[in-house]
């Protein structure tokens, strides 16, 4: 059986309002679980994000994924608020 360290290092990237709320473009966060929803909610509480998760999409290693996709140590994620190109 393989053993995992208790905490995973996740590279979190912020854009638009999330970048402003977090005060940085990216940071490495130690996550206690592979659950992206829990990670978002804890960062939402920490930085007081104004947006609830139902409007936010998740990108994992530069591809859109569902929120139930498990995270692995070393992953890079982006929280994507509603877009407004054009």
């Amino acid at each position: 059986m393989r053993h995992f360290s208790r905490y995973m290092k996740i590279n979190v990237n912020y854009y638009a309002m999330f970048r402003e709320a977090a005060g940085c473009s990216n940071e490495v966060v130690e996550a206690a679980s592979s659950n992206a929803v829990e990670l978002f909610e804890s960062l939402k509480t920490k930085y007081d994000f104004a947006m609830c998760r139902s409007h936010v999409r998740l990108a994992l290693n530069d591809a859109f994924v569902d929120w139930d996709t498990p995270l692995n140590d070393g992953d890079s994620i982006v929280f994507i608020p509603p877009v407004a190109g054009g």
Binding site: Y15, M51, A59, I80, V83, A84, G85, G86
Partner: protein
Amino acid sequence: MFRILSEPLDIEALKASAEDPTCGALVTFEGWVRNHNEGHDVTSLEYEAYSALANAEGERILAEAKEKFGLKTAVCVHRVGHLQIGDIAVWVGVSTPHRDAAYKANRYIIDEIKVRVPIWKKEHYVTGDSGWVNCEECAKHGHKPEMDYSRQTVLPTIGKEGQQKLAESKVLVVGAGGLGCPVLAYLAGAGVGQLGIVEHDHLEASNLHRQFLYALDQVGEKKADLAEAWLKQYNPSIDIEAFPARFQTLEVEQLADYDLIIECTDCMDTKLLVNRAAIIAEVPVVFASIYQFEGQVQVVTPDSSCLECLYEDGTPNEVLTCAVAGVLGAVPGVIGSIQALEAIKQLLGLEGRLSNELLIVNLVDYSMRKLKLPRNSNCPAHDKENPVPESIEVTIDEINLSDYQVIDIREPNEVAVSSLPCDHQHIPMNELLNNPSAINKDKAYLLVCAAGVRTQYTANAFRSAGYNKVYSLIGGNRMLPEI
């Protein structure tokens, strides 16, 4: 080509990159920074992009547009950084042989870019304030509007429990025409969680007076895809799956995945196939058909009487379609609404659902009758050993022409005008019907006429006489490929 640039756009160069010598149309769109938005005076804009994903998603949208509209070239460039009033923020250029597709494709690209590509816009206002477009609105409202089913959950027979059951239900609608439109709309509106749409036809202008999910500028497009798009906009919280194919192409295992099938075609051949396949898959079916001002609704479950029990001496082959018999839009509107209601009753096990009955609705005098329809013990459809019968009608895309002996059953004067572009025999319909020994019971034949009506009749006659490999070509001789 999709690009994100931080410097001003070179419009002439972009235009040159979108041109194609084989194309008669180049449609370009320029998105400018304007000085106001939603009542605020705007002084400048800031765009920010998540480049890796934005480029991938942008290219994906261009590829989709190329495939969908037959584009020769598609170019889109989006600015990032700080932009002033009058700057060009986004540029889209597409080339196609003809203008109609170019206009549609350009519109498609810019609409998709705006909602899918991770690019964000911050507005700076005259007041000194600033705000992220879209984000602020969402944050303010807390969440997007959601479907509110309260007007139906307040019904004692539905309630929250019934609503939950609908959300967990999976329904397949076969045929998205006059009956299918109200069925799909009411089931989507009621919050049925998963809807499948089987429809192989393309939209014709003559469909529109009764098929309200479609619009005049969509004539020629696939109805399954159009219905899917309409329903997704109408109720974004449910899952829609479109099958732009004939029912025959679905496997029994796929059907078994559904809780209920709603049969909404005007084709007896298809109805009989659905009847047999659904009995084998053990999925109940709500059938309906209309004839001028009259409609019939019947529910078939694995244990009940079925469509074939109704017709003891075999099934009627000559059923008139709407195209021949005529129809007012409101008639399939009423009968399709009854089907949708019956579907909800079946899914929730509500009182008064049809069972071993045929409901006949007369819209001339507004009378309704329920006729008892007991199960016929000799009905071949209930014998599970009997395989699902093969369709008598085939499309040219579904078959390998070289597997068939082609017989042109048109009259000599028709053949003189346009003979078939492949190896074939010519035996006019009446001659063939009077002399069945002209063909062999073990050999596969493809009958061809001008529209597929005479061949359907003739193939049916031969099938009844035990010629099991005689097929009718849907659409007639114009479907055969030129050599």
